[in-house]
Symmetry: C2
Subunit: 111 residues, 2 copies
DNA sequence: ACAGCACGTAAGCTGTCACTTACGGTAAGT
DNA sequence: ACTTACCGTAAGTGACAGCTTACGTGCTGT
């Protein structure tokens, strides 16, 4: 499990920024190089590069060299890690909720 | 759809902080009041309160009054919003990837 | 070989956010 | 009624993170 729980950078940290979520959504529609992404965003091109590095370290995007350009696209591994985390904790919460109800219904029993 | 895409605060913004992810994980195991959470965390109790407010605004946790204490527990709505977002964009990315391959395989055709 | 393009990195600045201490409010116990 | 416990809010501070400009590198075409 190379991508056990977290990558070099946590995927949730990466998607915690709204600009990176925008980039993520653009890449979901269509893989693109840095310049194209920067043209549709209100920030400079180096800023997009920095965001892409964070997303890459989180395992959310992958890089493909194409001459002088670098094509970025979504990476399924990072998304899988996030989904697993959500599902796992949600399953735990469901079990805990039953225990919680059983513990508290002794003194409380609404309809 | 009261919780269409985002709540008052985006769920990804809320889980972008590692301390809030810790609180989230603790609440997944077992609903708890503020004081109990703060006792197991390296930060003060008011700090935990502030984090809980962020998580609540994001629809990730819900509050239940129990005398002077406030029991916090996970809220399925916020988690569902995040999963939907991930699944939706991932599905989009899969479709886009096919288009991308079709466009680029004209000059490239590996096995 | 040289000019031009696409991109990453470095350095510096600024705003935001997480944390603290101090305070006020509500509920339970004596 | 008074004290104690549990909690949220306000105000202030410090650190981090995102942004910009400037620069260096590698690839492409003429």
């Amino acid at each position: 499990m190379a991508y056990g729980q977290t990558a070099k950078r946590d995927a949730f940290d990466a998607l915690g920024d709204s600009t990176r979520r925008l980039i993520f959504e653009r890449l979901a529609v269509r893989p693109a190089p840095v310049g194209v992404l920067a043209a549709t965003l209100p920030i400079s091109r180096p800023a997009v590069s920095q965001h892409l590095r964070v997303l890459k370290e989180a395992g959310l995007v992958s890089e493909t060299a194409d001459g002088a350009r670098r094509i970025y696209q979504l990476d399924p591994r990072g998304i899988a890690v996030m989904r697993d985390w959500l599902d796992n904790h949600w399953a735990t919460a469901l079990g805990a909720f039953e225990t919680f109800v059983n513990d508290t219904q002794r003194k409380d029993d609404p309809e």
